[in-house]
Symmetry: D2
Subunit: 339 residues, 4 copies
């Protein structure tokens, strides 16, 4: 019997997770909760997702908009085995008691503090540790990007030291209230929160992170500088390591992918739903090796990269797949993720 999943929150992450669940062979979407009518709510209805009124939303607002509502969040939760909390940052924690009372497992997002859950999660890194767990936190987009790359480099070469400069997008495409319009904004926290967040998964990862915000909406870009323990034979060897791992897309020189816009143009041309890019993106031309010192750029699509991780988290929590490889294979097949 498929695992019954509720999605609480239907914004950037929630709507993608809902779609992803509806495509999995071993899961069923019992509903999504949203606080106010919107085009997203209309699409949920058209897609026949049971739509519940969440937060401080009002049933009459949905009715006035002609949207069919199945009930309240509490009613949704009663249908479910697990809830994916995709409510805004920090709100997830407030729901924890309710989820526990309903005897539900819960998946939280990276905007919550780590102690909201039993463990922080990224499929390539620690799938097995999540087997049977009740509360799992999927780390945020940038951390997911780092941890995926760390999974490859640690295993193959060992990491002596890692420095990342994160050049962060200012806002998501449809967030029109956030700026800046014309600025570079350094983050004066050092290291930025990404290094300790990556260490919730790899406690001994010798990583430091520095962050800067720039006026673009498309993707983050990471500038990586890694001192490896064992020198790779060649750049090709490094590229092979990434290519052999799921969830890495590596562009070749002749593909003329100059930066983040062409990455997403590729995703659109590929007919990826919503033009999403759920893989870490690297460039052959953007990997440089000198002895054991590796430098590479990687681009991270903030809107979608954690989506498959949420799916794998559920699969681990219900023992639906014994290891990362088998869960990822099912998830990526269902979501059309491939190089």
């Amino acid at each position: 019997m498929p695992v019954r999943v509720a999605v609480n929150g239907f914004g950037t992450i929630g709507k993608r997770v809902a779609d992803a669940i509806s495509k999995q062979p071993d899961m069923v979407l019992v509903g999504v909760a949203k606080t106010r009518p919107s085009f997203e709510a209309r699409i949920a209805m058209e897609r026949e997702y049971p739509l519940y009124v969440g937060g401080d939303g009002r049933l009459e607002d949905f009715r006035a908009a002609g949207l069919t509502v199945a009930g309240t969040t509490d009613e949704m939760l009663r249908q479910a085995d697990v809830v994916v909390d995709a409510t805004p940052d920090k709100a997830g924690r407030e729901h924890a008691a309710k989820y526990a009372a309903a005897n539900l497992k819960a998946v939280y997002q990276g905007g919550e503090k780590p102690d909201v859950a039993e463990l922080s999660f990224s499929a390539l890194a620690n799938y097995e540790a999540a087997l049977g767990k009740s509360r799992v936190r999927v780390v945020s987009c940038n951390t997911t990007g780092i941890v995926r790359a760390a999974s490859v480099l640690r295993a193959r070469y060992g990491v002596e030291r890692w420095d990342v400069t994160l050049i962060r997008r200012a806002a998501d495409p449809a967030e029109t209230r956030k700026g800046p319009v014309n600025a570079i904004l350094p983050t004066f926290q050092f290291p930025s929160h990404h290094a300790p967040d990556a260490q919730t998964i790899f406690p001994d990862l010798p990583i430091t992170t520095t962050a800067v915000v720039v006026p673009t909406t498309l993707m983050h870009l990471h500038v990586n500088h890694v001192q490896l323990r064992r020198p790779p034979a060649s750049v090709s060897d490094v590229l092979d390591a990434f290519r052999e791992t799921p969830r890495f897309q590596i562009f070749r020189s002749w593909e003329h992918v100059e930066g983040t816009p062409q990455v997403l143009e590729y995703a659109r041309d590929h007919l990826s739903p919503r033009g999403d890019m759920m893989m870490n993106v690297l460039w052959e031309d953007g990997v440089h090796l000198q002895g054991a010192e590796l430098r590479f750029f990687q681009a991270i699509h903030q809107e979608s990269i954690v989506v498959p991780e949420n799916i794998d988290a559920i699969r681990a929590m219900f023992n639906l797949a014994p290891d990362a490889a088998s869960s990822i294979a099912v998830t990526d097949m269902a979501l059309g993720i491939r190089q």
Copy 2:
């Protein structure tokens, strides 16, 4: 027997037209021509579109990239009944002699001057005039947006006078060499080229257009001020006029579509391929009526709005459908265009 269509040029328009043709029941795509290897070329190959080397492209570049090439543009043209020329602005004209020599019909884009073809075209406006024609020019994105709206307003109310301020996007999403980064740039040509271009289709349309360029990549926005001949009964009557016409999307207040980003977020959520929006977009809240004086905003997706028009043009040129309504019905069904 389906009409055999070749697409010369595989950029923003060409790749979309190729996909659109491959979905039509009465057309077959015989190939696409591209000048250099790129991720777009790879996707063409993966989609099993016969790939030809166009322009000054070199076969060995494609081979070095591991791309299978079917031949040269001339070889492609020999397979076709009609060619859609989607090469860069002004280049289409240079190909006209070659197309004529190959005894091919040809569809040109709005970047060419009107006299490249027998008529300028927009399906709602003058489909019947294109029946059986050999050379048809689909007007550009902004003009298509204006002419579609004019088709509705002229027929229902008559147009006494029309003023449009076009707020134009600076570059397409993947055009990273074009600016400006932070500016508003007025166009000192008055009227801008859009008014005379709309008059290639409606010669007596009393329209003036003023254009400004702003630093965004998503859509154009038109600010319309129309003096109608016959006053509409109400705003609702105007909205109904648009709603009853294909290729208009009207957002309601409760859908919370604040501007161009949410329009495209809707298109992404709707799983429109590439996140495209091939309809003129209006807002209920953005239509204002005072007597016979109508004001409305409309947003135009520069990358995709002309795609269904190219399809309808071909259908008219080969008498595959007797009138606009029947061609549009087939096109829009195939492309998934619906409100």
Copy 3:
């Protein structure tokens, strides 16, 4: 004896007004009030402006920063004959009682509702009406731009009808929290608030305004379409009308001013303090005339255009100059405003 002026609020407008007052022969700056330490506060101190702690600011914060503070806002107000309220929108009204209790005249900004004052003001339009008044509101930047142009066109040609599309900058250069980054946002209020605001000065002005927000920080751009009562003899006649009026800058074709960035580059090169442009900016190439139908672009520098208006308002309120021309002459000489 010079009029003693206090400036409450030391943001974008307040700091410019303070500088402007300090340059007038008939006014003296008794102090500026600021709520928190910042580089602006440091500059006020370096410029030897008496610095007072305003709003909910705390004296100890200023002391910790090493900034010398002269006292509280109340103490500042006791030194003054008039206060310029440059606190954030809507906050001015809350201070009105305090100003009245202190027996102070007050100048408010356009973010306040009109009834905060005895009249709304723009020097070219209604200087004389403000003579001897106690509470005057200087209209906002966009309205100032419109009213200045209206002052010219009404007097010389009469205005039958005026339509403005305002293309608004998203944020000021140093406002880094506001967006959008990549969007065009229509304003669904029709007319936008600018038309009624212009009518607080010219009640019979037959104007309608439509507004759109775009991602730039530099200036607003107005697209004007005016039906005049009496047809101008020529475009030159119109240009002359503007040139003969203070506070209009008209760029010639050979100056290569393509848009808002070059306008401000000109202001910087001109060594205008802060790179400000306190004049309405027009382009010879951007004025078009057909009979009595006039179209023109004008650019408005949101940060500075109201500054000389604040000065003239004070001069009128204290009968320091008998008419607009003589006040403007003094203001503009002191501020270095000239074509």
Copy 4:
């Protein structure tokens, strides 16, 4: 007798250098050369700089614009002891023969290759090496920023290893043809050209640089990671080292300078001509020290930072000051550069 200086090229750098020269006690500006009429040419004329027609410019174009022209570039060069070549990148080299023939010393900009001159120059680093030289190249804005910081850190602590991620502005404020509008573009050259350029001045500097372009016009931001040879006593010690050196501006926490926009707002408020910031900008909050490992952000104003360096270069070439400290003192006093 003052050194007679000609400025060839009157763009972003040239116009600033011309102004700077006109303020020096020991130099006189004999003229500026420009190729076409523009508002910049008008300002040169208003400022009474002799204006010469440069490049392929045509005298009649200037006359048609009402601009007074003193002659051709060759005539200008005959008046001079030294020419500052501020023509576009790579054009300077083409003028070298002409300068030599005129028996002129020449200062080149960083867009030229190093071998155009006898040495590459940055005042804090190698003033003395330029004494009496005939051809000197002032390194580009980013390199100047790096070399200044290196001058401080090398002398005080020694540099074991230095890694810089340069986050580059896409275009200058008035360059409206360059993009991108919405993108992050990695530079696939590693190291970027900045590291070898810094080594034209400090050949043994163990530096690597990585560059990324982002859509902003204001300043570059450098993310620095330096392994020092001798650990500083504290962050304060590092800050003191910078504060004691000319041409460093360090912002304190309470000044609320969040990023590049507030840096330039400070410069505007400071009434720096054109709102320029000719110092390297650091933040107290943006310096982090762990043992001998130093991290700091610095912002670099691409339009103006090399201007004082051009002045110092001339002073060295003519032995007008014996050492860096005395030249910098004069330059900075004349230009109003101070923390």
